[in-house]
């Protein structure tokens, strides 16, 4: 019989090696999958992982890397803090959508006013919207003990309905010839979030993501609150003893991750997305969960994992275009990545043994 036996001492470097091994295993198994489907595995993998950065069309796809990585990193930074404390916000996608709607609402209400205050006000509204959406599971957990996992997840679907309602109803572009969707904020300069340096893909959301990485690093490794968050995740009773009130912690973590997801939604709607449509949520909120774990819940790891995950998005699109691989490729890849990461993590903490003897 095959058994898992805890390792007495796992070397520290296994924590870094295991995500790398997960990426390699994903490439190998993904290649096998493509081969079974009748595609050239080497060309497929190269199209997904190499061409977006160094291929013939890299000039177009390279800026996309930061455009996609920005929201992933911003959301994952917030999620990782909660995950460290054992508070599971699975509904960042919903907070992202509501943040985008709230931010867009400020812009649409102000239209066609001019003023430098409009964009900052949108950022604040986006963060507030995400925060409020995140506080719903927090309050329900603190008041009734409801699982924040289920509540936050279900609120994603509520948020998606709200987005559809907005796109067809209150936010529909009056000059849009009856088409669903709001005004395009890219065409309303005071409210738009443009590419700041041409050809890089950097917009305010990418800068916010970089700041979030620095801020969460500071919080978790230098600040007493981050210290207590880590204690709460490792030993909840010790956290209570140290003076952490679990209710406060739940509200802080869900509120913070909600606010960051809401900001990511705002930067998207004001920038690359441009408008609120019924399909505004594009899965960043869910992918960010994978980013957080792939990055070991560490800010620097999240930065790298966010870039890698953005690469699979762009590479997947490229593979669709160039090799006509199916559209689900990206999701299969991301799913495999998480699966292998969890598998290798298990193997870093346990060793496989045959038989029952010790």
């Amino acid at each position: 019989m095959l058994r898992l036996e805890p390792r007495t001492a796992a070397p520290w470097w296994l924590g870094i090696v295991s995500p790398v091994m997960a990426v390699v295993a994903t490439m190998i198994v993904g290649g096998l999958l493509f081969a079974l489907m009748g595609f050239d595995p080497v060309a497929s993998i190269r199209t997904i992982f190499w061409d977006p950065l160094f291929g013939p069309a890299a000039g177009y796809s390279r800026p996309q890397l930061l455009v996609k990585a920005g929201p992933l990193i911003l959301i994952a930074s917030g999620l990782a803090i909660g995950f460290r404390a054992g508070i599971w916000n699975i509904g960042a996608e919903g907070q992202y959508i509501i943040g985008g709607i709230c931010g867009a609402a400020v812009a649409l209400a102000a239209y066609p006013a001019e003023g430098f205050w409009i964009f900052p006000a949108m950022v604040l509204a986006g963060a507030a919207g995400g925060w409020a959406w995140g506080m719903i599971p927090a309050i329900l957990r603190n008041r009734t003990g409801a699982s924040e996992i289920l509540v936050s997840l279900m609120l994603v679907y509520v948020a998606q309905r709200v987005a559809a309602w907005m796109a067809f109803g209150p936010m529909r572009n009056p000059e849009g010839f009856g088409m669903p969707g709001s005004r395009n904020l890219q065409q309303y300069p005071p409210a738009s979030n443009p590419e700041l340096i041409a050809g890089t893909g950097i917009h305010w959301g990418v800068i916010a993501a970089a700041l979030a990485v620095l801020a969460t690093w500071f919080l978790m490794s230098r600040h007493i609150r981050g210290f207590r968050i880590r204690v709460a995740g490792l030993a909840p009773r010790a956290a209570r003893f140290a003076g952490v009130r679990p209710e406060t912690l739940v509200a802080f973590c869900l509120g913070l991750s909600g606010a960051l997801a809401g900001m990511a939604g705002l930067f998207e709607v004001a920038g690359p997305g441009g408008q609120i449509t019924d399909s505004f949520g594009s899965g960043y909120g869910f992918t960010a969960i994978i980013v957080a774990f792939l990055g070991r819940l560490h800010p620097l790891g999240i930065l790298l994992a966010g870039l890698l995950m953005a690469l699979t998005y762009i590479g997947g699109e490229l593979a669709q275009l160039m090799l006509s691989l199916p559209a689900a490729t990206v999701q299969v890849f991301q799913g495999m990545l998480l699966f292998f990461l969890l598998a290798f993590d298990t193997l870093t903490r346990y060793r496989l043994r045959w038989g029952t003897a010790r």
């Binding site: 230098r222 007493i224 009773r237 140290a242 003076g243 029952t356």
Partner: protein
Amino acid sequence: MCGHRNRLTYEKDNGDGVTTSELFRADGLAKSYPGVRANDNVSFSVAPGEIHALLGENGAGKSTLVKMIYGLVRPDQGRMMLGGQLHAPADPRAARASGVGMVFQHFSLFDALTVAENIALGMDSPPPRADLSRRITEVSAAYGLPLNPARRIASLSAGERQRVEIVRCLLSNPRLLIMDEPTSVLTPQEAEILFATLRQLAAQGTSILYISHKLDEIRTHCDCATILRQGRVVGTVSPAEHSARELAAMMVGAEMRLVDRSGRQAGEVVLTVAGLTSAAGLEGTALKNVGFQVRAGEILGIGGVAGNGQEELIAALSGETTGRPGTVVMDGRDLSSQGPEARRRAGLLAAPEDRLGHAAVPDMSLTENAILTGATRQGLQKNGILDHRAARSFAERIIAAFDVRTPGPGTAAGALSGGNLQKFVIGREILQEPRALVVNQPTWGVDAGAAAAIRQALLDLAGRGAAVVVISQDLDELLELSDRFAALNNGVLSPPVPTEGLTLEQVGLMLGGAHGMEVAHVAA
């Protein structure tokens, strides 16, 4: 070498150095773990019908040794003989089959199931339930350990739960019964019942391997004691012929320090607890109108078997649970509604019983564990920003002042032995010079040397004018330390009485008398 009061058979040495009068013999056993030589060339023997003590500090290798006998761990070197045959069990099932039974310190019983169901679960081939229930009743009555097989575990006291474990072993008629610190959860009266049972078993020829570091009970009840120190056998002696101090000295390898109680003067009232009532914690007991006062320079001992409200009491004092106004007052300041951090600022500190996961975070370094309670009082944070250098030097001060054996403050708390971590936890609070300190089971599972150091540190703290509350199951410890004594039983605290002149029997009655455990009929 040993006086065998209960030994039934005396047989002659048969010439080749192996006496057939021994039931169990270990020869040159060795077991290493990464970085630790847990057992090194351990040899000893146990005669039939002998109560044989294994005595040693924490980390001396007692657990590893009995785990090898019980088939949980395989020795690297050496061999064991049981009843003249090679004893090399592959697993506990094989060990049980060859006649070894073991009662662990921590029970493995399902609360929701009955006594009979629990026993059936632990058997390799349980008989039909009706037969089993009858056997349980017979065996438990025969050995003075009355048990009702239909009762649910949840309704049993700690002593009764232990009976279930013992009866479970006895049903398989063991030749060698291993008991791991059996009296740590018992009141003195319950312990007396247990010893009567062990006597009876020994008289019938069962050998008992008895692990403990309570020197007095070993001196009174064991025929022979093998003393381990740092994985090696230091000697095998007849414990009745040595004083507790001599035994402790052999265990520790040096003369023990005597606790110094002098130089204390009770001053003004520091801590007042009144009308404290709380909800029950997990598997705990609700506090019912608990009240006491502690003066500066005074130690109040609170005795009682764990699970009678001890956890709830320390949570109510540390601030983990808050209470109605006026229930916890220090120096005239009402702290009842304040959390742990505010109470620390005011000078009320606490050290809970559970080192791993409550008083300390096992996966964090000692430096980080120093921050856990020292952050505010020791200035390890300024405006929320941690000062890691200050935290490290605070951790180093604790390590130096309390002789914590560890490679350094970067070591994870979980890597320390129980005694060392306990010294760190107690030291962390004492070095913060509290106005009042509450500790729960300060020396639980700690070896004699470390326990003496912790007790002395608590006395010194009181000597410097702090009010100290010691919650403990160890009555000797409470009588040694405290100026006044109170018993916490089923959530009710008895009025504190002066310790001076109090006998162990009186204390036992304060605790056990109200405990509601049926007194067994002990065969004289």
